[in-house]
């Protein structure tokens, strides 16, 4: 059950190429699990930007001097995120969350590999803590275009048994993609499960490599959303259900976490002809 809070901004910090914002949001931390996301109004009450911006929840604190707080990470690439990055402590932002289905945690103390692309690492760090609390071994593979677009490298190093880093430009770690190093990491760590968050192309590659390794894989997708709460039907993607049928499902309520082998990656952005309710001659 999400809450809607007009929360005070505590801080907006630059983290490499990204921004991390902490907002006072009573009631939200208690409900949050790793993989949940939130949706923020941008531009103020008279804003010409009507749609919320959705971000993975990075960190929550249930108590403290300010009461419950929530932190999320974003990248400025439009007017909405530019507005957000210009908020100052004491400003207020309207937050709805937690939203979506979080990562499912294993019952047993398994070995987990966490793969993050860019600021997609943000929800993986609280996940890593939760896994460690259950006695799991955690290995990290983080990738980004360049060093400043890597997120959470130090935390990952501290929490994880191992950390592999790749950048497209080779400015840090190995030059290349996470998929260049993931098979080796999975083999070495004998990973039982894989969790990933990042761009869709990365999630597709990671899902395939996890499947080849024989490990179940949970991915948190980034689909463009208008409402974040399941009413607008814009954030759909083709996902295979337990009954073997493909449906266009909402990544905001049925996701953002999906099993990697259930998403029809190559058909994202299309309506496959065998999807439930696919257009026939009539439509």
């Amino acid at each position: 059950m999400p809450v809607q809070v007009l929360g005070e901004v505590l801080s907006v910090k630059r983290v490499g190429a990204y921004q991390a914002m902490t907002v006072v949001a009573p009631g939200l931390p208690e409900l949050t699990r790793p993989g949940h996301f939130l949706a923020v109004q941008v531009g103020g009450p008279e804003s010409a930007m009507l749609l919320r911006r959705a971000f993975a929840i990075y960190d929550v604190k249930e108590r403290g001097v300010y009461g419950g707080t929530v932190e999320f990470v974003f990248s400025v690439h439009g007017k909405g995120t530019a507005w957000l990055s210009a908020r100052r402590p004491g400003d207020r932002v309207d937050v709805v969350g937690p939203l979506g289905k979080p990562f499912r945690l294993p019952k047993d103390p398994v070995t987990a590999t966490l793969v993050g692309g860019g600021y997609g690492t943000a929800p993986l760090l609280p996940l890593a803590h939760a896994l460690r609390e259950r006695g799991c071994r955690v290995d990290f593979v983080l990738g980004a275009g360049s060093a400043d677009r890597l997120f959470g490298q130090l935390d990952a190093k501290r929490i994880g048994q191992t950390l592999a880093v790749t950048t497209d430009d080779g400015s840090v770690g190995e030059r290349g993609r996470v998929s260049d190093v993931l098979p080796e990491v999975l083999a070495k760590s004998r990973s039982d499960v894989v969790y990933a968050c990042g761009p869709m192309a990365m999630l597709q590659a990671v899902s395939a490599q996890a499947a080849a390794h024989g490990a179940p894989c949970q991915v948190a997708v980034e689909e463009s959303m208008a409402c974040g709460i399941g009413v607008c039907m814009t954030c759909v993607l083709p996902v295979v259900g337990d009954d073997g049928l493909t449906r266009m499902v909402r990544s905001c309520v049925e996701g953002p976490v999906f099993l990697g082998d259930r998403v029809r990656w190559s058909d994202v952005g299309t309506v496959p002809p065998d999807v439930v309710g696919a257009p026939t001659g009539g439509h």
Binding site: C232, M233, V236
Partner: protein, 328 residues
């Protein structure tokens, strides 16, 4: 305290604020944020005979004070809707306004038949902004004859005490001609307006943003168009109830529609940015009526059409009291 009740033909509602079709699914998601029975009615996403996948993504583009959508009426089909969604609304005491959409007159008639006698059904809204597959995909709502055929077919199947509203498209030369055709065919009232057809182009990819190329424009950007349409329909058909919608974000926005002639309003796109907007708009509308001296919501309906001699002096406190009962 303002008496916020309203009537739409044979049906009464405790208040005039509804959700808008396609902006509230079938109520469950919004119930996480407020009691859906607190609204005048919950207008469901348009339901079709069969399950429908909708269009390819991207399905949405944010535009200045608005958005374009090209969802393609994704939905579970009428049978699943009647199994799960309508009973859910009925159980909660919500008044369900079921929006129906079809590709042929016959499909609309079948949908209306299936709705007959269902508990919780307060009203039927006919989404006529659909391509008529029997007429080269010409949109029903753009043709008076096609609109009237759909409305007549639906009216014949829906119980007499359940209002049937036809939802009008603003993308026509004369909206009052379509309005008249729908009313002559038996529509109880009119939902004014559906989205305007728009298109956005991504200047990076240099292609249309939406997978469906064109999309429906909604949000505050279209409000003046919507208010104009309500005004024109009210002027042409003063006795026909109107459910007004198009970019309502606040109680004062809603009041504009009411003054233009709407007996009830739908809050649509604003819900995407503010899930509690419908109940907020209701509270704001009630307050706005109260400070203007209205004892009854119904007295404000169409008041902007009053003759010039019925002026409301600027320094008057309760302006409503200066006007005859039931003005204009």
């Amino acid at each position: 305290m303002v008496d916020m009740s309203t009537t739409l033909g044979p049906a009464s509602f405790p208040n005039p604020v509804f959700t808008a079709s396609g902006c509230a699914a079938a109520g469950q998601e919004l119930a996480q944020f407020f009691d859906v029975a607190a609204l005048g009615g919950v207008v469901t996403k348009s339901i079709m005979l069969e399950a429908r996948s909708g269009r390819a993504t991207p399905r949405m583009a944010e535009t200045p004070s608005g958005m374009l959508n090209s969802i393609g009426l994704q939905g579970p089909g009428i049978d699943a809707f009647l199994d799960k969604d309508l009973p859910w609304l009925a159980d909660r005491g919500a008044r369900a306004v079921v929006s129906i959409a079809g590709g042929t007159v016959e499909e609309y008639a079948k949908l209306a038949q299936k709705l007959r006698g269902r508990p919780g059904l307060a009203m039927v809204e006919v989404n006529i902004s659909c391509p008529n597959v029997e007429d080269r995909g010409q949109v029903f709502a753009c043709d008076p004859r096609a609109s009237s055929e759909v409305v007549a077919a639906v009216r014949a199947k829906v119980a007499a005490d359940v209002p049937v509203f036809a939802k009008l498209s603003p993308d026509v030369t004369d909206i009052t001609a379509i309005a008249r055709a729908c009313v002559d065919a038996g529509a109880t009232g009119l939902s004014v307006i559906n989205t305007l057809l728009g298109l956005a182009i991504d200047t990076t990819t240099m292609r249309p943003v939406l997978g469906g190329v064109t999309g429906g424009l909604s949000g505050p950007a279209i409000r003046p168009v919507a208010v104009r349409c309500v005004w024109q329909v009210r002027q042409a058909l003063p006795d026909v109830p109107i459910l007004g919608m198009g970019g309502i974000r606040t109680g004062l926005d809603a009041l504009e529609f009411v003054l233009a002639g709407a007996s009830a309003v739908s809050v649509g796109t604003t819900v995407f940015g503010d899930p509690t907007a419908p109940v907020r708009v209701l509270a704001e509308l009630e307050h706005a009526l109260e400070v203007r001296g209205f004892a009854r919501f119904a007295d404000a309906v169409g008041l902007a059409h009053r003759p010039p001699e019925l002026r409301v002096p600027e320094d008057a406190d309760p302006p409503g009291d200066l006007l005859p009962e039931g003005a204009p």
